[in-house]
Symmetry: C2
Subunit: 433 residues, 2 copies
């Protein structure tokens, strides 16, 4: 590649998968990358484009004229990928590109798909699929399929509709080969297939795929008409991203950052959370400031500040993580929230008793049975109970108000529990003192 | 179901997907569940069994004789599911069940599969697939396929091997329908298909599925012979579980717990981490105890303990989460570790300057330019730098020693940073005092 031997490079690229070319592309500088890009045929170039990172794709698209984007890429992409690509551009570019698409039917499909919310089945689906009528015979279907499937990548199911385009069944491709028959398709298809609606949230689509072990699912509109299909690769990305997002939020990262991002990008995702933590820490210093005299008369009080703050934070994170994950993978529903809070209270009581008893024994041996020994254990007990319930209720409440509960699991809950912990500790200490 | 109307219940169950029956089953008591279970035919019963939670499945299997497990379930399961099921039983039961399997070929496959490590492609694969020879013609392949595919659930690819059973190519099912031809299969198949080896770790298998948008991947042995296939549904479970595990470890949950687990199970997953946190807190109290006199002469020192401990914890979690996630999704490799540490140092410097400067200004206004103001900001600066580098290096080191780096992201790193933070703060304060 370095010596720009076109013939050799072309040969080499021909055998590579688009995902590998995308990786290669990202390792090169922009000049070399453009050289390679010109060697690819349009279809492969379009596939490589979709495999690039969003940032790199944007950079490349900015250098290209809109007409070329429409003719070179959009024409060769599945509608769902085309919609993803167009969504990444600004409105002006969107309109110009749409006007340059040669295939009017595809342009129409894309315009329709752009109307759906990105976070619903409608926003994830594509329109490339093989559709047959329930009253056709198997040979008719085969003939129709050969026409429809000509320029589709891969097909796993044939969808069966009635005369009003309502989804009636599916037909696994395998059966076409193993059980060829002359009967009407409606007698051999699988009836009542699993399907999702255009407004089904993406999380529920992913849950359906996992529950029913699907590789593709048909999407229907509000009156049951077949309007598209979602394939498993799009859903798998979704499952990964969703789980990663939860983890990132829990770790105090406010955007999707990777180790490969620049220092500036990383800082902008991390510093805000650290500043929130800083304000929490300063708030704590104000609270503790009210008890400054107590530290003079009883300096041992200060020694247990990290223990109480840390325990509250650890307990709160555990409780909220269980709720957030349960809501995400569908194992927990808000209908059981009363039961869940009670159960959490049970767990909290055991944890609180164990921890406060152990610390009491330790402090009793170390310092004897004085005010600090008692107030530390009493505070620990209260903090564990409070942090457990608080960590359970906050994500539930956010979910109820349709706010992503994952934002509750990160520094936010640690800091709140830290502050409440200090308030409890200082109140109990000063009451007992 | 309540009034045990067999006919009606049977009718109702017939139309339900195994995953839905499994859900229904888990909502019922054991008597009702057994009643339903007896109404299902063996194949459906086997599918329902695999959809149950591991705990419920174990409970049910314990009540059944081993011979019945072999004949009723194993015979109707795909080899990969059968292996999963058998792995859950103790050794004695395993041998008895294997001896009861009627189909000797299936029993042999299961014994072979049990030899592979659970966490590799070999442990995840099944042997149900359609295999054809590269020298056959298309009509011969179709005929062979009809025989092989008879009792397989779903097929997406036909795998092509040479006379020595080495994998040569794949053939999408779709092409059989759209391009029927009489030429030899080796001239129309897709050559050099993406494949994995039996000893490829599960994480890499999942990465291959995501990168190449696969629905199934062939598995080859060390000399390239085709030995099995892995389907996307098994991999999707893997992706979800892996991401959930990271999140759980980061949240201080030592096992896979769900909101539906009992109080006892939840406590046993949570209390150990809280106890580790408790020991950390007590260790901190010992460190702070050495400076007890300092709190008498300068009580303001105590006010900033939560700020410094909390900041160290927050920074450390961020740094380690970025490394852990990068290692898991393949975007980060140990080869770049030097570069990564330098980049982290850059981020840390910006964060440290911002936070210590802001806190300095705040404290200067609040208390004037005294020893505490200076030592708090100096400590914050050192703690941010230390926690960033420590949080980056620990997961890298664990990965190098083949220990799961995710265990570093939870309470462990928070507690360590908390303790180091106190040591730094106390040393700086006492030096300046």
């Amino acid at each position: 590649i370095d010596d720009k031997n076109e013939q050799k490079a072309k040969e080499y690229l021909k055998d590579l998968h688009p995902a590998d070319i995308a990786e290669l592309y990202q390792a090169l500088n922009l000049d070399e990358a453009e050289f390679i890009y010109r060697l690819l045929d349009s279809e492969k170039a379009a596939d490589v484009l979709m495999e690039l990172d969003e940032d790199d794709r944007k950079k490349l698209l900015k250098r290209l004229p809109n007409e070329m984007i429409a003719k070179q890429f959009i024409d060769h992409l599945d509608t769902d990928d085309a919609v993803d690509l167009i969504r990444e551009l600004d409105e002006e570019a969107q309109e110009e590109i749409l006007s340059h698409i040669d295939d009017v039917e595809q342009a129409g499909d894309i315009v329709d798909l752009l109307k759906y919310d990105e976070d619903t089945a409608g926003g994830l689906m594509g329109t490339e699929m093989v559709v047959v009528n329930e009253n056709w015979s198997m040979p008719e279907c085969l003939k129709e399929m050969r026409i429809q499937a000509e320029d589709m990548d891969e097909i796993y199911y044939v969808y069966v509709v009635d005369d009003d385009e309502r989804l009636k069944g599916v037909f696994p491709l395998k059966k076409m080969i193993t059980n060829p028959s002359v009967s009407k398709i409606k007698h051999v298809m699988k009836k009542d297939p699993v399907s999702v609606k255009t407004d089904t949230p993406i999380e529920e689509v992913a849950q359906a795929f996992e529950k029913y072990d699907l590789v593709a699912v048909p999407v229907i509109d509000s009156i049951g008409r077949l309007v598209g299909r979602i394939t498993v690769d799009d859903v798998m990305d979704e499952v990964r991203e969703q789980a990663e997002r939860e983890y990132q939020l829990a770790s105090g990262l406010s955007q999707d950052v990777e180790s490969t991002d620049t220092i500036f990008t990383q800082t902008s995702a991390r510093l805000p959370w650290l500043l929130i933590g800083m304000f929490g820490g300063l708030a704590n210093s104000v609270i503790l400031g009210n008890f400054e005299a107590g530290f003079v008369s009883n300096p041992a009080m200060a020694l247990f500040i990290p223990l109480i703050g840390g325990t509250g934070g650890n307990v709160g994170i555990q409780s909220s993580a269980i709720v957030v994950q349960g809501l995400a993978n569908g194992s927990f529903s808000l209908r059981n929230s009363g039961k869940q809070i009670l159960k959490e209270l049970g767990v909290a009581l055991i944890n609180a008793c164990m921890i406060s008893a152990l610390v009491f024994v330790y402090n009793w041996i170390r310092m004897g049975n004085n005010g600090v020994t008692i107030s530390v254990s009493l505070s620990l007990f209260s903090v564990v109970i409070f942090a457990s319930i608080f960590g359970t209720i906050v994500p539930m409440t956010l979910e109820r108000f349709k706010i992503d509960p994952a934002i509750a699991t990160g520094p936010f809950i640690t800091i709140t529990n830290d502050i409440i912990g200090m308030l409890i500790y200082m109140s109990i200490s000063s009451t007992l003192a």
